[in-house]
Amino acid sequence: MAIALEVKDLHKSFKTGFIPKRKKILEGIFLKVEEGEIFGYLGPNGAGKTTTIKCILGLIFPDKGEIEILGHDYLSLQAKQRIGFLPENPYFYDYLTASEFLRFYAQLFGLDKKEIDKKITGLLSLVRLEDSSDIQLRKFSRGMLQRIGFAQALINDPSLVLLDEPLGGLDPLGRKEIRDIIVRLRDNGKTVFLSSHILQDIEMICDRVAIIVQGQVINQGKLQDLISEKILFTEIILSGIEKKDLEGLGECLAADGGRILLKVFDEKKVNGVLEIIQEHKGKIHSLIPRTETLEDLFVGMVTKQ
């Protein structure tokens, strides 16, 4: 698989304070994003996710390190011609209408007028803003701004799309819409690099992830390789049984309205629980084996670090 984005030994520090002191933000980042995948870049607030993306885009200059985008130097126009970017909390020219806004960005890619008109119509319908094309961006809601931001990131039909916290601040419906668009991009052969701290979303759509803590990537790889498939515990919701009958089999977490939530840590004891339920003619409402989640992995690593 060809490499869409490669970052080698990236360092960045900033001077802060009245008497300038150097504060290290990135301390040797290595990343490899393959073409056609959704790559999740995870990290707690202040870990250096946005700083990495700003370096990749040439908004800030690294102290040390190499960045290559689709085989080109990251500062070259050839590289920029093939990338799309959606910033965190998109701020746009609020005095422009949605179509004026997209037209402006399209002109920066040197597209001709006919092509621009076609692109604007297609993108506005992709992000479901076709009825708002003549409305100024200052009148847009947060979700609408995020969607028009997505449209500008796709105006050049990019091969690599960089998204900085694209799901932050959106309601569940808005998040689902954006997730669907991201997956559709991958299905169309695009590479998506997405930074986030909303782990459930990352887990749902990402092929590979990298975890950054305090300016260093502490783990990187395929999701299924990082998360162990071992069952951590089994959650059983049952009814028709006395709490005392389950003693010694697991931890009884709640017993409301005749229902009991039982957490069984030993896999072998699950069968024991099932037998007791059968004996007492009880009822199982749900039985969920919990494997390790990305959240468990993330929390574990961040705490360890």
């Binding site: 885009l57 800030i60 909390n89 020219y93 002109q107 920066l108 890619f109 500008q152």
Partner: protein, 254 residues
């Protein structure tokens, strides 16, 4: 094409700025006020109208260039709109040139409106359109281009308030530095004079663009002055723009 796209967007932004219309309104009031001043003056009324009218155009044009120019680049960084812009295939110098041209075009339109008001007022007195006034206005325009470049230069690294103070200082120094030349002529040769000459060369001399007196009083102006002032304006503006690009080239957008 890319520079023009940024210029067009800058024009759209600047033309929606309320400060512009406030200044245009006051400029119109001042030009109109020249008629009242003319009534109070003994002598040639038309000359007073021309004098005050051209001075108003120059002053309010400079204020427009400074107050809008100093916010242009800063706002892009402050509002983070520059993030999406710089991530597109555009060089940083193209962005700055686009900003400059957009504002220069806005100032051209404003100058045109002020000139129409001014010439119309003159027409009511003389019943002729005084085309010669356009020569003075052309040099005011060259001066505004330079002030715009200076405002954008300061805007690349400081806040709008600080940039405005710096730009106004540039404007004032530029219009007062001719006094320095008179001082130098009276100084005896030596280290002091040499240092003074160096300082005079570095300081801007915006009086090079001031042909108001000559035009109003119909005095002859040798062609070499026109050529010198035009080149002075063009090269000084280019110099400040190049300086801005150098500052902007390696700037981190945090």
């Amino acid at each position: 094409m890319k520079i023009l796209a940024v210029a067009n967007n800058t024009f759209k932004e600047a033309i929606r700025d309320r400060i512009l219309y406030l200044l245009l309104f006051f400029a119109a009031v001042c030009i109109g006020f020249s008629r009242v001043l003319a009534l109070l003056t003994v002598g040639d009324e038309v000359k007073i109208i021309k004098d005050v009218g051209l001075a108003s155009i120059s002053l309010f044009g400079a204020l427009m260039a400074i107050l809008i120019g100093t916010g242009l680049v800063y706002k892009e960084i402050d509002k983070k709109t520059i993030y999406t812009l710089i991530s597109k295939p555009i060089h940083r110098y193209q962005f700055l040139l686009g900003k400059f041209l957009g504002l220069v075009f806005t100032l051209f339109i404003m100058l045109l409106l002020m000139s129409i008001i001014f010439l119309a007022l003159l027409f009511l007195h003389t019943y002729t359109i005084e085309w010669a006034m356009l020569v003075a206005i052309f040099f005011i325009f060259l001066e505004l281009c330079l002030i715009t470049a200076v405002a954008i230069f300061f805007s690349c690294f400081s806040s709008p308030i600080l940039s405005s103070i710096f730009s106004i200082a540039f404007y004032l120094i530029g219009h007062l530095s001719w006094g320095f030349e008179t001082l130098l002529q009276k100084m005896k040769p030596g280290v002091g004079k040499t240092l003074g000459q160096i300082l005079y060369t570095v300081l801007p001399d915006l009086e090079n663009f001031n042909f108001k007196t000559e035009i109003v009083h119909h005095l002859p102006i040798p062609t070499k002055f026109f050529v010198y002032s035009s080149f002075y304006g063009i090269f000084y503006t280019l110099f400040v723009l190049i300086l801005s690009m150098l500052v902007f080239r390696k700037r981190d957008f945090i």
